[in-house]
């Protein structure tokens, strides 16, 4: 029994050392360390794996339904001290719509909704960004969806900069409110353009971006 206990000590130490080493490695490479000082106007490329596009729409006139688009791509330049010089351009494939139900996703891709064959992407390109207060801004731009390009306005929150896998990163969130009827997506919408139909007219799109510096 004693021999077994003694033999187990180095094994446990090795495991403990390994675990501590891994934890240290995690802290240095995986966990982003947020830096509060303002970043310079750097160019960033969107990390599709750590960025999210989530949308919300009324269902049956009462419930809030959430879906997402996977694989956001794009790039931006932004300096919180000089926001007006910032530029943003994003794109996501309509094919990548994900609502947690494959049948519904197929339906959303087809001619009834996104018509993903004819309109393979949803694109956003900024036209201006203005400071509101703190780290909040108003981002204006053109949203292209379902063959229509419309000016939209996003509430933009700059989350700051940090490092991830020894690379500088930046992060922000933006919330855009649109009416899908503005983009000629009117199927299953109430005739009066309200949210009372099978599917609502107002859609909230939330974009959460993590982007390594280029």
């Amino acid at each position: 029994m004693r021999i077994r206990t003694i033999a187990a000590v180095p094994v446990a130490l090795l495991l403990a050392a390994g675990a501590l080493g891994f934890a240290a490695h995690e802290r240095s490479t995986l966990a982003p360390s947020v830096e509060t000082p303002a970043a310079q106007a750097a160019a960033y490329g969107v990390d599709p794996v750590h960025s999210s596009v989530v949308f919300r729409i009324k269902h049956a006139g009462i419930a809030n339904f959430y879906g997402r688009f996977n694989g956001l791509t794009g790039e931006f330049t932004f300096d919180p001290d000089n926001p007006s010089a910032g530029q943003f351009a994003f794109s996501v494939k309509t094919q990548n719509v994900d609502t947690g139900n494959s049948q519904r996703d197929d339906h959303l891709r087809n001619a009834d909704f996104f018509n993903a064959v004819q309109f393979p992407t949803i694109d956003f390109k900024s036209t201006s960004i203005t400071h509101v207060e703190g780290n909040h801004y108003v981002l204006k731009g053109d949203l292209s969806l379902h063959g229509k390009t419309r000016p939209v306005e996003a509430k933009f929150e700059w989350l700051g900069t940090g490092t991830f896998r020894n690379r500088p990163i930046a992060a922000f969130e933006a919330v855009i409110e649109i009416k899908r009827s503005d983009f000629d997506m009117t199927h299953y919408m109430a005739p009066d353009g309200s949210d009372s139909g099978g599917l609502g007219n107002n859609v909230t799109i939330k974009v959460a971006v993590e982007a390594p510096q280029k």
Binding site: A111, T186, P191
Partner: protein
């Protein structure tokens, strides 16, 4: 489906078709007073495509509260293709009014018009898919194939419609429109299923008018419109919907030709219901096979269970 949907997509189009066809027929009878011995259908041939187009546009409004003349999304160009189908239907029916000695010129006009309609529908719906989804060469090939399908299908059904007047011709066409409903429905193309249901309602109304007006004819204009509407539905179902399967649609495309069985000499010369049954039964069989195929191809009975 809400009450409004039901009204705009089925009830109103059906009423427009029924009342419109009946009014046009009665007006024609009062103005022209055809001789009882005249075997040739003397109904207002142009009325069917005009009335069908109007009814279809009401249905389009029911599905889309912001209808546009030329929407960016080719999937929403229903009313453009329906209007084109109606216009070509009117033109082809007017050709029948050409005096007999110039009838050859009429044929020269009618068939190229039908070919042009098939090509127009294809290009309106599929050309925007170039270059990322379909090459220009492929779209051109599909346009040629659609034109080549529409012309003989129209010719075959026109010949059948010439013999099957009144309620009979709507009955021959009904199975095709009916079969499109499950083909689109089980392909998760809800709008296609709804438009097929609308077309079904139009033909039901024409059937009722046909019971009142035994010499109502869908020859030329009416047939052209119905086939053009089905062609546009088939194209959208096939090329814009990931769940669509080709085989049921191909089988359905053969249905109009099945009616041509009634044109065989041994059947065409017979009187009574035999030629009608020879036209209707093969269409029911072929369209039914397409509908069954579409149903069996889906593992879930309800493709909208979400």
């Amino acid at each position: 489906m809400s009450t409004r949907d039901l009204l705009f997509t089925t009830v109103f189009p059906g009423l427009i078709t029924g009342v419109g066809l009946l009014a046009a027929w009665l007006l024609w009878q009062v103005i022209f007073r055809p001789a009882p011995s005249d075997a040739r259908p003397r109904g207002p041939l142009w009325a069917a495509p005009v009335v069908f187009t109007l009814a279809f546009l009401v249905a389009y409004y029911g599905f889309n509260t912001k209808p546009q003349l030329w929407p960016t999304s080719s999937a929403m160009r229903f009313h453009t293709t329906a209007a084109a189908g109606g216009a070509i239907g009117v033109l082809t029916s007017l050709v029948t009014l050409v005096p007999a000695r110039f009838r050859w010129a009429g044929h020269l006009v009618r068939h190229p018009l039908t070919l042009a309609l098939g090509a127009f529908i294809t290009l309106a719906l599929l050309a925007p898919l170039t270059p990322h989804a379909l090459s220009a060469a492929r779209v051109a090939l599909i346009a040629a194939a659609c034109a080549a399908w529409l012309a003989p299908a129209t010719a075959a059904l026109d010949a059948v419609a010439h013999r099957q007047q009144g309620w009979r011709m709507p009955v021959v066409l009904l199975p095709v429109a009916a079969a499109f409903i499950p083909v689109c429905y089980f392909g998760a193309y809800a709008t296609g299923a709804q438009f097929s249901a609308c077309l079904f309602a139009l033909l039901c109304a024409a059937l009722i008018v046909g019971l009142i007006c035994p010499r109502l004819s869908l020859e030329h204009g009416g047939v052209v419109f119905v086939l053009a509407a089905l062609l546009s539905l088939g194209l959208l179902a096939q090329f814009l919907n990931p769940n669509s399967r080709t085989w049921p649609l191909i089988v359905l495309a053969l249905a109009p030709f099945a009616a041509a069985v009634s044109l065989l000499p041994m059947l065409a010369g017979r009187k009574g219901l035999a030629p009608f049954l020879a036209a209707a039964v093969p269409v029911v069989v072929v369209a039914g096979a397409a509908a069954l195929w579409a149903f069996l191809g889906r593992p879930d009975a309800d493709p909208y269970a979400y």
